[in-house]
Assembly symmetry: C2
Homo-oligomer: 350 residues x 2
């Protein structure tokens, strides 16, 4: 007799960066070192307890309206979800149903192949060149879909809007997703392409530049038809994913743009300082436009540095696969003080 | 040339009950009329703003531990998600991968067929009898899985644990999900079956009995192996679905059991009072063990009553499909005062 086990979907799950419970310098999950806007705090402390007994607004109207206004697009072009992971997973389910493989870089956000496996979507990973740049010719053949982060992670390398426009224009047969999780830290957004092309969707998150990883908010911008298909799938999965408090804080963050831009400027300044110091210590890295630096040392092994930093209470991220990045460390940008401590620790170790 | 539209997943999404923005008597989405425990409010107002810049604990350890303690089961038997809809959708993806159809009642939670369609799972809906009871013989043949709510919705009819034990014992070839969204309002839980059988999983929600629909918390209890498969799929979908504030309030609610039990007793008392009044007005209904009553009037059409109540600012739920329930209304239990107003309004209308 067969048992229930024969019909279980077994997968190798994504492994998120460690969330240590003790006090450490945490440079391993690209979190923002600064708290969210004080306005967010104000909104949380003014939540009406009685309102929580009711379901949240399933249409997420207030948040969608605030995002549309912020990005100067129509409301019908905006979709929201539980972090950009939710938005991306829903996009995979909705848009990637061709028998042709979807395409993405070999070195990229490590969730893409996990989703493709989970949803049984065929895929091909295209090799970045030795400078971690994307070869656009790899994305020229008809395919089931394309997903590329800009800037790419964990490399931090950004491409200009024209680069993506070429790809989008060449693929009327599929949807192209541009994952802009890190775009606020100094590269250009492709949101403008959604006016001209109906097969492109831009995905964003509150987790990095908005300092709100703990709140789980992501969103997408695309033409209203794409957004409608995405919403239909989302409503078929779970109508009420965005809770009442999250919807309120999502709006609050957008209302304090001055604070938002000041903190981004802080992170960029610290990143550039850190680049200089890392270079002095013998590290090389692509020119990051993100809130992290992807660095390799000229003589010491990444695993060794990773372990030694951990002993000193400093967590960075190390990916053992693919093999050609096994000697790199992804170092998130913390506060000035944290980065000074990192540099001192590295000086000791090397 | 094909366009991207040929590979879109198109679905007919679930339609949630209306969430009117004006002030009305809202008896249409089975929300609890009482606010969550004051402890929940205390936890929200003491959230550390800076903590939100970090990702939440992906393992949801504190909440899982609190739930395990509350239900006197091992931590390895507990899974949490964004409302029971998230837990159920993940369970469909994880457990229902057979070529044989899954089975559920024709009159039941209207999301089941939506998920089956979304994930392309074959299914058969088994007719309830004329008293809205489940015929156990309909669930005797080998199948791809079984899902039944207890008590069932929107009927409110509950079955004893022995009934479900027979089904679980007869189906070693598949996973049986018992959806206990409404179990706290007076029927018996099947959680005990998870000690004896490895193919049964119990799903619960904070949205009804815990007055926390606005927070989006659901959970499942099953044997550690089932929970592990479910967690692997969840981690492959989105590692951080439960946000920092939600995890904290989820624990707080469990810590105030006195308040929880008192509010359930209030709802049950009001429900029994309402049953008496509805019967006097010429309504008939199965004996509900939920926080709603599924009622049909002896002479007036459900659509007529529904529209007239709406004009008076009272929202109840009406399902047009399947046809044999088109003359029923699902009326959520509100406060005593709300139910008195409902009864008066019905007196006017009839």
């Amino acid at each position: 007799m067969t048992t229930w086990k024969s019909n279980i979907r077994t997968v190798v799950p994504y492994t998120p960066g460690e969330q240590p419970k003790q006090k450490v310098i945490k440079l391993n999950t690209n979190e923002n070192p600064y708290p969210p806007s004080p306005l967010v705090g104000k909104v949380i402390s003014s939540i009406d307890l009685d309102s929580l007994r009711k379901y949240p607004d399933p249409t997420c109207d207030n948040l969608i309206e605030a995002l549309a206004k912020y990005h100067s697009v129509d409301k019908s072009k905006v979709f929201v979800g539980v972090g950009s992971d939710d938005v991306l997973a829903m996009s995979f389910i909705t848009f990637f149903n061709s028998k042709l493989p979807i395409l993405f870089p070999d070195i990229t956000y490590s969730f893409y192949d996990v989703w493709a496996d989970l949803f049984r979507i065929p895929y091909e990973q295209k090799l970045l060149d030795d400078d971690f740049k994307i070869n656009i010719d790899d994305y020229s053949k008809p395919c089931g879909g394309i997903i590329i982060p800009n800037p790419n992670a964990p490399t931090g390398v950004a491409e200009p809007v024209e680069f993506f426009e070429k790809i989008v224009a060449a693929h009327p047969e599929c949807v192209v997703i541009i994952d802009e999780a890190y775009v606020d830290f100094g590269s250009n957004s492709c949101i403008g392409l959604t006016d001209k092309y109906d097969n492109v969707i831009i995905v964003r998150t509150y987790s990095k530049s908005r300092s709100m990883a703990g709140n789980r908010i992501g969103y997408a911008i695309g033409n209203p038809e794409l957004i409608k298909y995405l919403s239909d799938c989302k409503f078929s999965f779970n109508s009420y994913t965005m809770d009442t408090i999250t919807l309120a804080v999502g709006v609050a963050s957008l209302e304090d743009d001055e604070y938002f831009k000041a903190r981004i400027a802080d992170v960029i300044k610290t990143r550039e300082w850190t680049k200089g110091k890392l270079a002095e210590l013998g590290f090389s890295f692509p020119d990051s436009k993100s809130n992290f630096i992807f660095a390799k040392h000229e003589s010491k092994d990444a695993t060794y540095i990773f372990e030694e930093l951990k002993k000193k209470g400093i967590y960075v991220r190390h990916f053992s696969k693919p093999e050609r990045i096994a000697n790199y460390l992804r170092i998130s940008i913390g506060t000035d003080e944290e980065m000074q401590q990192l540099i001192e620790a590295l000086r000791d170790i090397l």
